[in-house]
């Protein structure tokens, strides 16, 4: 196969994938389009004076730091079991706005407690 054939094959694969992709874009449902519209409006609100309802999240790293620190203290007895890359993991958590993950940590804590108490599920309901 020479270079010319390679080029035509490249163009063909690009064209075919683009057509498929465009088709999937056209097939997005109304709910998804509505969510995109709401997201766009949130973004445009950033241009208005004092706009941007997410600005409060700027202080969330401090909250994240406090919660992660509490989690570490809680698990202080297991510090010797920390994986070698735990420091970078926590740095990553503190750098972002990982509120969802921090909420998950509460769940994992509950999971660990129930695992230690096999009869705990018997009291549910």
């Amino acid at each position: 196969m020479n270079d010319k054939d390679d080029m035509s094959d490249d163009e063909r694969i690009a064209r075919q994938t683009k057509e498929l992709f465009d088709e999937s874009v056209r097939g997005l449902d109304a709910e998804t389009l509505s969510r995109l519209n709401r997201s766009r409006q949130k973004a445009l609100a950033e241009l208005k004076p004092g706009g941007g309802e997410l600005r409060w999240l700027r202080w969330s790293p401090a909250v994240a730091a406090a919660v992660v620190a509490a989690a570490v203290v809680w698990r202080a007895g297991d510090l010797e079991q920390l994986p070698p890359d735990a420091a970078s993991d926590f740095e990553m958590l503190l750098a972002g706005e990982e509120l969802e993950l921090l909420e998950d940590l509460e769940f994992y804590r509950w999971l660990a407690l129930t695992a230690e108490e096999p009869d705990a599920d018997d009291h549910v309901g």
């Binding site: 690009a14 992709f21 766009r40 950033e46 079991q81």
Partner: protein, 202 residues
């Protein structure tokens, strides 16, 4: 260096907008986001295999563009928007990796229940016969699977060039790399896709 890249290099000192200028800028940004949002969602969705997560990434990219770069020339918005979007995708993958490590540290069961079902997230085609829908659906699934197998940088270069239609300079800005790297990543991606999809599409 093309017009986008040249404009990108010299326009960082643009004036802040006020009054009528702000309204005009808002309209321009609205038009840009309307034009790009659906493709951006699908590009993010292919990368993270989950529509809800992709929606969050797209929203963050929209807000990031509006907050940081609304004052830039409109011709710069596409590569800047996709730079933010790709950063979001990479952060998502890093957070997922960290999340799995933290889960194992806390003794949680790191199951596969949050793995996205490619059938559930596939697009729902419209206006065609069932046979055409099935063929298209299967072809798109094969394409998404193939794209998922590609290294991250190759996938980025391919989707930004082919799906979004950015030129090489625009992709280089979005990916924070040289134009030569873009060409290399793109070429390797196309060849890999040809190998993987050839039996379906020849």
């Amino acid at each position: 260096m093309n017009a986008i890249a040249a404009s990108f290099a010299v326009s960082s000192a643009h004036d802040k907008n006020t009054g009528v200028g702000t309204l005009q800028r808002e309209r321009e940004l609205n038009r840009f986001l309307m034009d790009v949002e659906k493709r951006a969602l699908r590009i993010a969705e292919i990368s993270v295999r989950d529509r809800d997560e992709a929606m969050d990434i797209v929203q963050d990219a929209m807000i990031g563009l509006a907050r940081k770069y609304a004052h830039r020339e409109g011709s710069e918005w596409a590569p800047l928007f996709y730079r933010i979007l790709q950063n979001g995708v990479r952060d998502w993958h890093r957070r997922r990796s960290v999340r799995q490590r933290v889960m194992s540290w806390f003794g949680g069961a790191a199951g596969d229940e949050d793995a996205a079902d490619p059938i559930a997230i596939a697009a729902d085609p419209d206006g065609r016969t069932p046979e055409q829908q099935l063929q298209s659906h299967e072809a798109m699934q094969a394409l998404e699977r193939a794209l998922t197998v590609l290294p991250l940088r190759q996938r980025e270069a391919f989707m930004l060039r082919t799906f979004e239609g950015l030129d090489v300079a625009g992709v280089a800005i979005a990916m924070r790399c040289t134009e030569g790297s873009v060409k290399t990543h793109y070429s390797r991606a196309v060849h890999a896709l040809r190998e993987m999809l050839g039996e379906h599409w020849r």
